[in-house]
Amino acid sequence: MLGFLIGEALRDLRRAGRVAISAILLITLSLAALGGFWLVSSNIGQATDHWRNRVRIIVFLKREAGTPESTALVQRVTAIPGVSAVRYVGKAEALGTLKEVLGKDASVADQLPINPLPASLEVTPTAEGATPDGARVLIERLAALPEAEEVGGGSQWIDRLAQARRLLNAIGFGVGAVLALAAILTVTTATTLVLHARRQETEIMRLVGASELMVRLPLLLQGMMQGLLGAMLAIWVLIGSYALVAPGLEPLVHQTLGVERLSFLRPYDVVGLMFAGSVLGGFGGWLARGRREP
């Protein structure tokens, strides 16, 4: 029975001809747009995750603490909600780090009469503490410490990156949805033409007592086939674009976002796109209406 239904659906697909090709291309376009935005968005997501794990909040201290005093301070700050780890950085260590950063110009630091760098606490927030709201609350708590002179760092730029990602997702879904709607309407038009072309088959099927489901299943299947073909083409377009663009873009992305390699869609994203294509096509096929029985 399934073989018969698939055979009928393929016959219908051939009958739909150019309109079916238009529908397939529109589905390709809509899913390629959706997949493209998804691809860029997932790479930005990867960058934000990468940087969110590296968020540090620096608490500059009023004065350098002695060993027992600094140990007690570290313990006290570690107990604050939203704090994952704390490291005490003394004035000498801060100067050493500065010299490392200056590299061959490190001798400049040696000219200083006194070490001007303050001691500090390097605070690693928890996942909740690294969110925009979590970081704001944590910074307020750290600034309230009597030992704290100033609190710096945070995750503002990462939040801006995350915001850009959300905006990109919204645009992607918007463009994808408009194109998907056009694709559904085209599949419906193609299926209406198929309905017209196969009216004799439909008439015979109804006449001999085929169920309404049996009459409509080939239409649903040919719609799904259009969707699946469109999705497969979209995936090839995405693979081609990725192969072409990624190698040239990776050095720039590495420098700006710190992400070494741009990643392609995950296997279940690809399966998701194919599923979405089939659903789009099937829905378009199901929407087409022929003559109704009295």
Binding site: M1, I204, R206, G209, E212, P294
Partner: protein, 223 residues
């Protein structure tokens, strides 16, 4: 098998009501061969369409194979139609399929197991004398052959009732004779037949009970 009681079918053409069938009542028993005779426009096709629920009566009761036809749900319509074979004046063969595929199509649609399809198709084609034309396309058939192929398609499902709507209407005498012989053989096999024709000679040649329709009314029931 078939029972109609005070059936009316009135079409509305704008404000004008045109009765296609007026107060039609009759009964056909199981195993009968009944000719429905009437001129073009007498209401033969309308009547047959009501029997296989391709249309609904404006008024009246229709009972076919113990189904209360006007009140059937969609699923029951399909169920009833599986027991009825219908042939038309234009054979309505699917042009892109061979005679074999045309007959096999209805068996596939109804979910007949694959291994049963070929023997049943050839049984039906043998019954109408068309087994040697199984691979021919409709365009390659004479009108008489096309009509016999349509009959094969109708009987492949072994229907209890055969409704024939002018199957000899466009055939010459010799071809019409061949088709009538096939239909009589089907009837002899136990299938109830309701045969609609506008040809007086055909109705007379059948020498069976005849219902005469005139302007939508049964004006004679004899034989």
């Amino acid at each position: 098998m078939i029972e109609l009681h005070r059936v009316w079918r009135v079409f509305s053409v704008g404000p004008v009501k045109v009765p296609a069938l007026s107060d039609v009542s009759f009964r056909i028993a199981k195993g009968e061969f009944v000719t429905l005779h009437g001129a073009s426009g007498a209401g033969k096709t309308t009547l047959l369409r009501l029997l296989y629920r391709d249309d609904l009566p404006t008024e009246g009761e229709i009972d076919v194979l113990r189904y209360d036809v006007p009140r059937l749900r969609r699923r029951e319509v399909a169920e009833m139609r599986r027991m009825i074979g219908v042939v038309f004046q234009d054979a309505k063969l699917l042009p892109g399929r061979t005679v074999y595929e045309n007959v096999a199509f209805v068996l596939r649609v109804l979910g007949t197991p694959r291994r049963e399809i070929t023997p049943r198709v050839f049984d039906a084609l043998r019954a109408v004398g068309m087994s040697s034309r199984a691979q021919a396309y409709p365009a390659q058939l004479s009108q008489g052959e096309a009509q016999r192929a349509a009959l094969a398609r109708a009987i492949a499902r072994k229907p209890l009732l055969l409704l024939a709507d002018e199957p000899t209407g466009s055939l010459d005498e010799a071809m019409a004779g061949e088709v009538l012989d096939v239909i009589k053989d089907i009837w002899a096999g136990g299938t109830t037949v309701l045969f609609a024709t506008h040809q007086r000679a055909v109705a007379a040649a059948l020498r069976q009970r005849t219902l005469a329709l005139q302007a939508g009314r049964v004006v004679k029931d004899e034989g």
